[in-house]
């Protein structure tokens, strides 16, 4: 893959070390050399190995589990079944809703999906456990399964009233609109497919549990483990130094974690359990399959009069997952009349989960395809029609945007892409056998805000240490927190050590919804400012300080040295100053919680998402925005699509580190190419069983599929969104990619594909 980036509007003229600088990932060398030790790579004395046994039917009851042969197999320590596993309590959900007072068993008797954990084998070695697990024979009483949304038994589902959004009279306005389009858009089940599979090591010492597990949310997962086992929150320690990709799937403690922790408790030994790749397709939920109908009523100038949107997503038989399908529909374009409603349909699947931009992603596929269809209907350029219907304020909340650089994104992207040279007719651009198409689509993601906590220490050698229980799954937390502390204290980033991924550190909420950078730069900035104040205070007032005689009001700390503002006094390093005043460290805790927050508020903030601030809180509506311009080439005979060029302009506010932000955007764009062209969980309709449950058959893009990608930052600092002015980065760029590609495919071929992915048989 060749990737080129342009620096543009990165809101900083600082060096690489400062906030806004292009510092390379500080964790890069450790990862490249293999020195980075991931959670399940810990070597522990007496480690035992657990392997899961899963249901092979999608619906029914376990009649019996024959485990004798497995128990007798070499090295086997225990076979866990619903009958033999210790009983747990139900934990609260991620809003912290008090759970029903009933036991929780991570091994199922009642089967609601194929691949459900029914038993586990623990043995001295992994190989012994695998072999013994194959000897466990489970018999079932099978009942008919609801395979997916298209199953005749699935029905219309359950209305989710909280998702209803309405203003004006959308139906009437649609009925009287001179131009009407109405179409249905479907997205399949998709999977996060992180390189590092899910897994953990659990170790009990008395009633204290330590869990080494890749985690997007240490405090949330620690709470769940604590509630399951009925031990105090403080007794659970989560350790998660690096995460090999999560994309939403590693935010919650899951059933396999409970199994491993039970096994460790029952055996009195640490236990490791790592999912096989196939198990990662059923051990937790991918993105729910969705169906949407979008109807747009407009006038002949393409001005939208009405949008009526109906959405459906699948959920599991006994779990509830709502993929908010009207989230982009309701804010992208100005419309006087609007109606959006959503149902969820129960199918025999694991409960779906969060996957990069849950809600916004499929939502954008609907509305951004539909407006493209409207543009052809009224004969207006697809970019022009978007500008005509530009929402000057949040149409739903009726509030001003905090910042919305979408017009700028359209302009910058179009200019760089050369959009003006596009010929409007479908099938009007070609190169030999290849039809060429150009498409555009917009994307958005709300700014999710929460609170965070960090400790900053200035140490005797002049280095600075930052600790936080937040995590780095490759997005760059280690790096931007080093930059924040370096800039705030006045040292080089090389002199900052950032420690993350241990729940004993000061706390952080979930790393998801693109909130972490804004939250944690704020907290580190605050703690570092407090540490700096202490340092300067000591230098000014401590009688042993070389600056004491100066009687200055303030001092300058830069490049690790302390000087007087006018440069007329001593010039000493931080370590010299600390030595002269007889201190081995300065330490400050900073958090961004309101000052009067109770201990209970704090606990709730870090262990649930109930305290997150709504993006429309106060006077503003806060979102990131983007515009994707895509060129595709479609082989006319074979229907194979190749994305041959991408230019995306994005507004994530101020970028704390443009290099890392660009990487995340490109990652989102690449994932969007996969979503548009490749990704789809394929079910065996007779057995409700996923067929392509491995990375050879579940296709994600390879380097050879990815063309030049150019990303342009058009953001400006947005201080309504975060302390330092950034908005969200990680989720944004995938939003709108699939419709941009589908729109380009239509322009190339004249065929509108409304069912993802766009595979060759849909085009030949």
């Amino acid at each position: 893959m060749t990737v080129r980036s342009i620096r543009h509007g990165d809101a900083s003229d600082g060096g690489a070390d400062a906030v806004g600088g292009r510092l390379s990932r500080v964790d890069g060398p450790a990862k490249i050399t293999g020195a980075a030790k991931y959670a399940v790579e810990q070597q522990l004395e007496g480690l035992a190995h657990a392997v899961l046994v899963e249901s092979t039917i999608a619906s029914g009851k376990v009649r019996a589990i024959a485990s004798k042969a497995a128990e007798a197999a070499p090295g086997v320590l225990k076979v866990l079944t619903p009958d033999t596993i210790i009983s747990l309590r139900t934990a609260s959900d991620w809003f912290g809703t008090p759970p029903p007072d009933k036991p929780y068993c991570p091994l199922a008797r009642d089967i609601t999906f194929s691949g459900q954990h029914v038993a586990a084998v623990v043995a001295e070695t992994f190989e012994q456990a695998v072999a013994a697990a194959a000897l466990v024979k489970v018999s079932y009483d099978e009942t008919p399964a609801i395979v997916d949304l298209s199953d005749g038994k699935a029905g219309d589902g359950i209305p989710v009233d909280a998702m209803t959004k309405e203003w004006g009279d959308a139906q009437a306005a649609f009925a009287s609109a001179p131009v009407r389009i109405c179409a249905a858009y479907n997205t399949p089940r998709e999977y996060q497919a992180p390189m590092e599979p899910h897994g953990l090591i659990a170790r009990w010492e008395g009633d204290h549990l330590t869990v080494w597990e890749p985690s997007q949310w240490l405090d949330g997962m620690a709470r769940t483990y604590a509630e399951w086992f009925g031990v105090p929150f403080e007794n659970v320690r989560l350790v998660s130094p690096y995460i090999g990709g999560g994309f939403g799937s590693k935010a919650l403690a899951l059933g396999h974690g409970a199994v491993a922790a039970c096994a460790a408790k029952m055996l009195g030994r640490p236990v490791r359990l790592v999912m096989t790749r196939p198990q990662t397709f059923t051990g937790y939920g991918g993105r729910a399959a969705t169906r949407q109908t979008v109807t747009i009523g407009a006038d002949h100038d393409g001005m939208i009069q009405s949008i009526v949107h109906r959405g459906v997503n699948e959920t599991s038989i006994d779990g509830m997952w709502v993929e908010p399908l009207g989230s982009v529909t309701s804010i992208m374009y100005a419309t006087p009349n609007f109606s959006s409603k959503q149902n969820v349909v129960r199918v025999n699947s694991v409960v779906p989960g969060a996957m990069r931009a849950p809600g916004e992603n499929p939502s954008a596929f609907g509305i951004e395809s539909a407006i493209d269809e409207l543009s052809y209907e009224v004969g207006i350029d697809p970019l022009e029609i978007r500008l005509r219907n530009y929402a000057e304020q949040d149409p739903e909340a009726k509030k001003a945007w905090s910042t919305r650089q979408l017009r700028e994104a359209f302009a910058a992207g179009a200019e760089r892409f050369g959009w003006a040279r596009r010929t409007p007719e479908p099938r009007s651009m070609r190169d030999g056998n290849q039809l060429i198409g150009w498409g555009v689509a917009a994307g958005t993601y709300p700014v999710r805000r929460a609170y965070g906590e960090a400790i900053v220490r200035i140490l005797a050698d002049g280095s600075v240490e930052v600790e936080s229980s937040s995590i780095d799954m490759g997005q760059g937390t280690y790096t931007i927190l080093a930059q924040t502390a370096a800039e705030t204290v006045g040292v080089s980033a090389d002199d900052v050590v950032v420690k993350l991924g241990d729940s004993r550190f000061p706390r952080a909420g979930v790393t998801g919804g693109s909130r972490l950078a804004g939250v944690m730069t704020g907290a580190v900035h605050k703690a570092a400012t407090a540490a700096l104040d202490q340092l300067v205070g000591l230098a000014i007032s401590d009688p042993r300080s070389p600056f004491h005689a100066l009687q200055a009001n303030t001092l300058v700390v830069a490049n690790g040295r302390i000087t007087a503002p006018r440069g007329d006094g001593p010039d000493v390093s931080i370590s010299e100053l600390l030595e002269s005043v007889g201190r081995d460290r300065i330490e400050a805790v900073g958090d961004t919680m309101p000052a009067n927050s109770s201990a209970e508020d704090r606990y709730k903030n870090y262990t649930t998402i109930a305290m997150a601030l709504p993006h429309t809180e106060g006077d503003y509506s806060r979102h990131s925005w983007c515009a994707h311009f895509v060129e595709v080439r479609v082989d006319e005979d074979f229907g194979t699509v190749r994305v041959s060029r991408v230019v995306s302009a994005l507004d994530s506010g101020r970028l704390y580190n443009p290099k890392l932000a660009e990487s995340q955007w490109k990652g989102g764009i690449i994932m969007g190419i996969g979503q548009a062209l490749l990704e789809e969980g394929i079910m065996d309709r007779r057995h409700g069983r996923i067929v392509n449950n491995n990375l050879a058959d579940y296709l994600v893009p390879t380097n050879a599929d990815i063309p030049d990608i150019e990303v342009i930052s058009v953001g400006i600092p947005d201080l309504h969104s975060s302390v330092l002015g950034g908005k969200g980065v990680g989720e944004l760029a995938i939003v709108g990619m699939a419709p941009a590609i589908a729109n380009a495919v239509f322009h190339a071929t004249g065929k509108r594909v409304r069912d993802l992915p766009i595979t060759l048989e849909k085009l030949i």
Binding site: G75, G432, D635, F638, D684, N703, D705, D708, L760, I764
Partner: protein
């Protein structure tokens, strides 16, 4: 733990003795065998590691002008051998369109011929599969079969053979050199793989314990070098098996086709030599009309066992395009995206 014996013979005859035990399997690059063992799809009782057999990793030119490829020659070494790629460009292109660089570095020529099907049910030990467990049934029939066979399938099994390498090889009359207790024998690649019939578990004509020692290409295989192409339709540009592929080799003089070879991949349980199409081409004008007739002939007997009817039309189009590009001439350089319809795109890197 599933215990198995591991033996590492030093000579071919030791290997044959070691593999004479029932339940033995030869281990070459291991890229297929070890995956199947880890998944519980096969559980050999004895692994006979042939990777140290010195005489099997040579590429030799024979006195009659033919070529002999030792069974242990790595896919990457063969594809990147300059003399080989020049003489048999379609074979090199097919090799480079397969798997990934890492796998090609490990995979051997003999192993490639014997790789098992990628039918998902074959890999899923919870599903019925006649090929894995004779008599248990075929889950793909009536199940998920979008990528399954359109030629030569039976009600017992509708799987395809996934190799790219084998497709141009069968077109070029390759011969498999086999060593067994009875001595050495030669079987054409066209006859080497079996169609499923009632015994899909019997995938080739190899008898238990027999060893592939080499693959031979006859002298005339190199005579097509100027007009030989491989085209592979797949869902992503690298690291994916063919939905359908084709190899074509032509000799053209005065606008007429003097010799024609055509084979299809991803359509049957064996690499599919399209002899009826070759008959149509022989002596015909070298033009698209002839290629369309040839494609019709190649697919005349095709039928879909399920949801894969699109593959028949796709295969026709691929035949025509492959013949067109063979006619246009073998490119001087290996395309950056081997065997891809987008191989001529500018600005695409080789390192896929």
């Amino acid at each position: 733990m599933r215990d198995f014996d591991y033996v590492r013979p030093a000579t071919i005859s030791e290997a044959l003795v070691a593999a004479a035990e029932p339940g033995s399997a030869y281990l070459a690059g291991g890229t297929n065998l070890l995956d199947l063992m880890k998944g519980g799809v096969t559980s050999p009782e004895r692994i006979v590691d042939i990777t140290r057999l010195p005489e099997l990793n040579r590429i030799e030119t024979l006195d009659d002008g033919g070529l002999r490829i030792g069974a242990l020659v790595r896919n990457a070494d063969l594809a990147h051998d300059p003399a080989f790629a020049k003489a048999y460009p379609a074979v090199a292109e097919a090799l480079l369109s397969g798997a990934s660089a890492q796998l090609r570095n490990a995979a051997t020529a003999g192993g490639n011929l014997l790789q098992r099907t990628r039918c998902s049910y074959f890999y899923d030990t919870a599903s019925a599969c006649n090929r894995r467990e004779p008599g248990s049934g075929c889950s793909a029939l009536g199940g998920e079969n979008r990528l399954h066979a359109i030629l030569g399938w039976s009600d017992a099994c509708i799987a395809t053979h996934p190799s790219d390498f084998c497709v141009p090889l069968v077109a070029l009359d390759a011969v498999v050199e086999i060593e067994g207790k009875q001595g050495r024998r030669h079987v054409t690649l066209e006859e080497f793989h079996r169609l499923p019939g009632d015994t899909p578990q019997r995938e080739t004509v190899l008898e238990p314990g027999e060893l592939i020692v080499a693959i031979r290409l006859p002298a005339e295989a190199a005579s097509f070098a100027a007009h030989a192409r491989y085209l592979k339709m797949r869902e992503r540009t690298s690291y994916a098996f063919a939905v359908v592929s084709a190899a074509a080799a032509l000799t053209v003089r005065d606008g007429k086709i003097r010799a024609a070879r055509l084979a299809l991949g991803g359509v049957a349980a064996k690499p599919w030599r399209a002899r009826a199409a070759e008959a149509v081409l022989l002596g015909a004008d070298a033009d698209e009309a002839a290629f369309v007739r040839a494609a019709d002939a190649a697919l005349a007997d095709a039928s879909p066992p399920g949801d894969n009817a699109f593959k028949i039309e796709l295969a026709r189009r691929i035949v025509v395009r492959t013949l067109m590009s063979a006619l246009a001439g073998t490119p001087a350089l290996m395309p950056a995206l081997p065997a891809s319809p987008f191989s001529s795109l500018p600005g695409v890197r080789h390192d896929a």
